[in-house]
Symmetry: C5
Subunit: 307 residues, 5 copies
């Protein structure tokens, strides 16, 4: 075990050895194993946006096995997906990559302003499918947030008692926020804090903008001159907001974007003390060779081999 992995695991000493073993699996697997950095492949877009929008750009992605193979070959730390995708492939790739079962999902056939994802899997499903962790999405700012916090907490409690790690996707949206506010720096840091207080081991947030949404927060940012000008500044502030860096925070890749812009963001995440990226559409919506090359560049940046 590297010193860095040992240090990270020391933040989770309230957890039982089972959960810490699974955190260690995530930290030690793949190309970034041992560095304390993460690149995770998530594929829930089939449920969230529909199959054609997700997989038509690279039809190989309709097949559940494809994403296991992509994550394994790229050397990701883990592969995250909903029940159906994990069930379809788990028996074919036993032990080849840590799995994160995503336990709630939302579709856009009815697309409400204050969404509440459906719980689509359970901790026991994760266990029977050999997963290392469970994932769950909360939408702070939604009128439904309370329900999702309580579901997240119930799942976290059960997962921890059964030796799994807990990953929360904390994505602000809903009636409490403007569109711009969903990625505002005060809102994203607040979302990271909420996820940490709910007991998440790993927190996934969006890369924040320099916008400040809430009036009370704005006064504080100005009074204390909190640096938020650059992406690196903002990443550092998000990491600080997740228990002063004592919780793993990784950043969402978002929709397919220009490679150089993406690599620039990865550098900023690295330089700001972020723990890595969760990269879906930017990897599986390309031809496989291209996707692998892309992921390797990102991993190289996180490993510090590419500047």
């Amino acid at each position: 075990m590297t010193e860095r992995v040992r240090e990270i695991l020391s933040w989770y000493e309230s957890d039982n050895p089972g959960t810490r073993t699974n955190l260690a699996r995530l930290l030690n697997h793949g190309r970034l194993g041992g560095t304390g950095k993460f690149v995770i492949l998530p594929v829930d877009q089939g449920f969230e946006h529909g199959p054609a929008r997700s997989f038509a750009p690279n039809p190989a992605g309709y097949d559940p096995d494809y994403h296991f193979q992509l994550a394994i070959e790229a050397g990701c730390n883990a592969y995250a997906a909903p029940l159906g995708f994990i069930e379809a492939g788990a028996a074919n790739f036993l032990g080849e990559i840590p799995l994160i079962l995503k336990l709630n999902n939302h579709d856009v056939l009815y697309d409400e302003k204050d969404p509440l994802s459906a719980v689509t899997g359970s901790v026991d499903d994760a266990l029977r499918l050999g997963c290392a962790a469970v994932g769950f999405t909360i939408y702070p700012g939604s009128t439904q947030a309370r329900i999702m916090y309580e579901e997240a907490r119930e799942i976290a409690k059960e997962a921890k008692s059964k030796g799994l790690a807990v990953v929360l996707w904390s994505y602000p949206r809903g009636s409490g926020l403007s569109k711009e506010g969903e990625t505002a720096i005060d809102v994203v840091t607040y979302a990271a804090q909420i996820a940490a207080q709910l007991g998440a081991h790993i927190i996934k947030v969006k890369l924040p903008s320099a916008h400040i949404e809430l009036g009370e927060a704005k006064k504080v940012y100005q009074r204390y001159h909190i640096p938020i000008e650059t992406v690196t500044d903002r990443v550092r502030h998000v990491v600080q907001s997740a228990f002063n860096g004592k919780r793993i925070v990784i950043f969402s890749g978002g929709p397919r974007s220009e490679d150089e812009a993406f690599f620039g963001e990865a550098r900023a995440i690295r330089d700001g003390g972020g723990f890595g990226s969760i990269i879906g559409r930017n990897s599986f919506q390309r031809q496989k060779a291209e996707g692998l090359a892309f992921l390797r560049t990102v991993m190289g940046i996180y490993a510090g081999e590419i500047q």
Copy 2:
């Protein structure tokens, strides 16, 4: 066991031997046994539309035994019905045909825009009645969809742990969709994907039209030239959307129609890689001899004996 059945079962290796045994029973029973194709008799219309609308065209159908006999004599893979019908006949036809207990139902005495079916049976009912599978309907696009997804998932979890197979009827409707959108190609494929991600072994959808409902989806269909002109094209795209063909997708027969039109659709389903049909009103609303002849023709098409 035929090679095709072995191949199909290989997609479900995450399931326990009990569940795979029941999938094998469905695949190996009746006229199409071993071909990987399905014709299933479903009779829930008494609940869904009322008794006279369902059974007056052929009053023999008021009797629960009739449908068991029809399915057995026609050589269907299975017979699906709500609790009352299965309870009324199960003891009379022990082991003569695989049974699918339909676990939720809806009536039209109060016919709401965003329907939520009542849960009318349980996994334990299916076990005590000797069923091979449970069935459940979800309505993606309804404001109530989240509740049905969660019910479906709970039932699927329990069924799988108790060795049963899971069939989801995925029928888009409700406030999120136009009437035409309920059978739009992007919507039906999305419905198939959702059912697959929820962990269905067998997915039942309606035969889609070439209409595209959602703006974001339309851009993708155009940009990637996804073929949806013919019924065969669309069936192929639905099958692709159900984990690249690794989940069994069968198509709903709908209301009583012209025989030749129906046979044409069966050919398209077959040629597009579909796994078969679930045929209710087109079979039981005829005199028995006529119904049997009709079903045999459809089976002949699926078996490849009738072009």
Copy 3:
């Protein structure tokens, strides 16, 4: 055991011996024992309409013992009442008459358009009080129907596993229906079908009128010339709609009416193949001697001794 009782019990072979024993007790008890016909005394009007409206016409009825005595002396097949009445008398009349514990009730101190009865008793209460069956009311056509169906099903499941019989009162009402529609022939047959599909052993409906409520149903009644002109025709059609006569259907007596009219309806029920009547106000709202005479006449009609 008579041939008729044996035949009726043969329709319930999916049930365990405990439940069939209790069905046999109901079929074999009292003046009509062995005939396959039923006259049941129900007294839930104290809860449903208030005590004075129910018992002032014959104040002996304020006393819970009175109804036990009335049902026993008249030779009814069973006595049905809510928890309080059964608790008050059960220990005084041990084994003298089969009891049906009515498990939900509604009052009119707040009288809503779409009623949802309160669950006021449990299957375990029925067991500890020595009952043969549980009773439950559903209101198809109400916006609340789904909840009642699910409650009915839960109760039926538990009752069957514990060896009790299940009686459903299926009374259409609520936003989905006009006042006239509540007793329309298409609606009452639909209500009988729903109760049967929910797993009821015994179904209680109101005597239907010749009115047809639903447009889609009307087309079918006309196209197939379903006979609904006379009460006897309509009873026959209700019985057909309850699994072609393979579920016991009995008819509600309704408010106090003229004796001759009532006897005429009993003849029509008998001649249409109905299984009998559930008679409350017409029996207990008279002086006891008169009530007994009335009930004996009805039983004579069902026994075929009075034409």
Copy 4:
């Protein structure tokens, strides 16, 4: 055991010996022990109306021990209070007076038209605190009545299985009723009937007026000339409506009133066959000596020693 106590207990023979033992404790305790009459001290006004409104008239009442002492010294049959008050004193007065744990409560900091009390205690709390009974309030006429009936029934079921007695406060109010209707004779008798049907052993209602609220009821009261002119008449009719006197009905004292008026009501309750009073504010809002004297007079009336 007196003959009267033996007679009263005979109405509860469906209950287990544990519950009947606790009923016997209530019947045999204190100044009225053995007479079949009751005076109970209830103190939930701190929760229901606030502390100053309840206890400022006699500040000794802020202290939980005070009410135990008052009830014991006065010779009440029982003392009823919410969880906090019972927890605070139970260990100090072990076995000195039967206790009734009030299991739901409502406050007026938010005072809604259709109130639903919060469940604030459990049957197991009553057991661990050595109580003889549990108490629960229902509000017939409220849009929320169904929920309270179901909660009452759940609690009654559990209490009976664990050997406790069940006291229901049945207080009509809410959207279904006018203000005057809350104490109308037809409404109070209906409330008593509902509580009895829900399985209450002891029913607490308000003393009714001669007003008749419901149109259907009015017709019956007129047609059958039900006597409701005097308080004694109305008490007799309430007692009749509670299973012809086979359930214990006691009457609520209401807000602090003139002594002579109160004593007159007690005489009417006694002469109409009522079982006694539950007296809170009229006793604990006085200086202790005065409160004791007041309670002794009421008990003297019930004992028949004071005319």
Copy 5:
């Protein structure tokens, strides 16, 4: 054990020895151990107001370990925080300070008029993390109050059965109250009474103003001349309202304020018989040395060493 601690514990004799042991731990720990007075450090502002608003004034507070250290070094009786903060530090400070796990939380990303906090932790979490007590917030006056009362009671019941102490934060707000009414003397005393009746061992309220919110209460305050002019008067009245001083009531510090004003309030709390303060922002939003000095002064006031 001091006499005062023994006296305080005597009020909780209905509790099991496990719970009383934990109350004793809280009473005997730190600078005020044995005096019967409390200063508790609560840090849930990261969740309630967001991380920057809470921790930017003293960025050391982003780190969960900081608050443990602050509470330990200052000699607080206990440290209270949500799940995440306690999990992050519990293993580092085993047994060094009694912990209170705060079991519900609310954020302002969606800030509703009638808030309902999310349940974010459980009694079992408190046990596995070595806590002495659980904390829970109720908002009397909110349309959601009933739900919170029931949650509080469920948690209190479980905590007591598992040997933990129960702390309720009782903060009136919502539709039932004006802004000024949230701290009105009649409302705060009512809130203290409700918490006591719900079974709290320790009650946390805000320091009340002399405003009276409710009309019915105003009449009583005037009629009985209840003294509420000074802070000391009002503290005394709050303590009286919590079972005549037989429940521990401590007062909330509120937002960062002038030191002298704060010390004045502490003197008034002490002189009015209050049990102490819960001080968050006034302590952790300063540099550590300054925070420790501040807390020591407050403790000196409570210990009676500083006048």
